[in-house]
Amino acid sequence: MAITVELRATPFYPGAYVGPFSDAHPGLGGVCTFVGEVRGGDDVEALELTHYEPMTRPGMEQLATSAVERFGLMGLLMVHRTGIMHPGEPIVLVSACAMHRRGAIDAVDFCMDHLKAKSWFWKREKRKGRWHWIEPRAADHEDIARWQ
């Protein structure tokens, strides 16, 4: 069982992570992967994610551990961008492998809900040349409530 959590300030190619992650768990039944990208088409020119290393990383590691235990995973990989990103660039990658598909799929869903609503990231978007901070949404709390 392996947990990998990575915060990185530069662009990444999801396939470069998922292939080796999957290969590192021979015998697995299924791998589920989610990649979130900076959406295009809604006036967003750029997105900036700020984190606070002494809390963001331990928070992600704790989330990963609880997902592995809860869903009986063989391995879990989380990669999260920080810094300035543009439409089309991956922001987050979560990949879970397990003996059975339900555990892998649910773990990805669980991790994404918690990363989005509970992780120590602050986000601002640049629209028409101006930066705007993003506030929490009511839906974030509903997302988290699904797992309680």
Partner: protein, 79 residues
């Protein structure tokens, strides 16, 4: 010295991301160091404090010794 780290929109309000101030520092000392709008934000329940990476359950009980780092944490952004 005590290092203050301003996260998210607090960095904009503070006009900087980090700031070194004299040690020790408690809650009232922190508020006294901040301008009106920033002090108001920090006093808001939605803003949390962390001391050396540990979230404070009661931020008004802040007691930061020399060498400590205080993070000022507004609500995290949604998905």
């Amino acid at each position: 010295m005590v290092r203050l780290v301003f996260l998210g929109r607090l960095a904009g309000l503070a006009g900087r991301v980090e700031h070194e101030v004299a040690a020790p520092l408690d809650w009232h000392g922190l508020l006294a160091l901040c301008d009106g709008p920033l002090a108001e934000e920090i006093a808001n329940d939605r803003v949390k404090l962390a001391l050396d990476g540990e979230l404070l359950a009661d931020k008004t009980a802040l007691a930061a010794p020399a060498g400590a780092e205080i993070a000022l944490l507004p609500p995290v952004s949604g998905g």
